[in-house]
């Protein structure tokens, strides 16, 4: 790490706050993508950010139903960038994660010989877990806080900025 990198902490880019609802999530993701594009972030990192953010937000939407008695079904995002990639924090006031832990990273089983038995769900957390780094969840003052990173290069060390 050289002196330049040491001096460069994460830079906040955009912090949208929006209802935990499908179409509001779509609009927020498009705004985040436009911001990242205007910052000169490349297509691959932007794609990975969209995919990971969608899964994280959809999970909150699914658990923000009125039955959960959530009085503020909204999501707050904080998107920041540094030389290593994108840092993301999501906050919501929905119900806590069962056991307070991250769901398993395993994909649902696929039986290629029986297409009619293929799973239609269960992909969200495996996608999120395989695509992100430093994924963590915590709960404070009735608020869920989910954090993760998208590395600038998909395979850090193999090529690009993280190689050194």
């Amino acid at each position: 790490m050289n002196a330049d990198e040491r001096g460069m902490g994460p830079r906040a880019l955009i912090s949208p706050h929006f209802p935990a609802q499908d179409t509001a999530v779509r609009d927020a993701l498009l705004r985040v993508d436009a911001t990242l594009r205007s910052e000169g972030i490349g297509d691959d990192l932007r794609d990975r950010t969209q995919i990971a953010l969608a899964e994280a937000c959809n999970n909150i939407v699914e658990h923000a139903s009125p039955y959960e008695r959530c009085d503020d079904p909204a999501i707050t995002l904080d998107i920041a960038s540094d030389r290593g990639g994108i840092q993301i924090t999501l906050r919501d006031k929905g119900g806590p994660m069962p056991d307070g832990r991250l769901p398993a990273p395993d994909l649902p089983p696929l039986d290629l010989d029986d297409p009619l038995s293929l799973p239609e769900g269960g992909f969200g957390w495996p996608i999120l877990r395989s695509m992100t780094r430093a994924l963590s969840i915590s709960r404070r003052n009735g608020q869920n806080i989910l954090r993760f990173r998208l590395p600038a290069a998909e395979f850090p060390g193999a090529q690009g900025q993280n190689a050194l």
Partner: protein, 118 residues
């Protein structure tokens, strides 16, 4: 949900004229797919060239669409953009659905299997 269906000999090409298949349109996608393929027979090629984003709900809708075809018809995918390809690979769905570079390559593969792509 803008989707269209073109019937060719033995196959149908179902084109999605939307940028995203996500949680907000997953149910509409499945309903529209059902309407478009009913009354036809043969395998279906899903042309995703216009789609630049899909999430796990959209993926689930494509799996549901495949099941609607039943055991005798197949669903094949064509024209995957980079983000869609990434989701298909991460979830191993690329091992479930035959994937073609584009709809024309998929149709050509039916005439001459030697041209089957990727």
């Amino acid at each position: 949900m803008n989707m269209s269906f073109e019937s060719r000999s033995m196959i149908g090409i179902l084109k999605v004229d939307e940028n995203r298949i996500d949680a907000s349109v997953a149910i509409a996608f499945k309903d529209r797919f059902r309407d478009l393929v009913s009354g036809s027979s043969g395998d279906v090629i899903l042309d995703l060239a216009r789609v630049d984003f899909i999430d796990s709900s959209g993926l689930g809708a494509i799996v549901a669409a495949r099941k609607l075809l039943g055991g005798d018809r197949k669903l094949e995918l064509a024209g995957l953009t980079p983000a869609v390809d990434k989701v298909m690979t991460l979830t191993r769905m690329h091992t479930v659905f035959p994937i073609h570079a584009d709809a024309e390559a998929a149709a050509a593969a039916r005439i001459d299997p030697a041209q089957a792509s990727t």
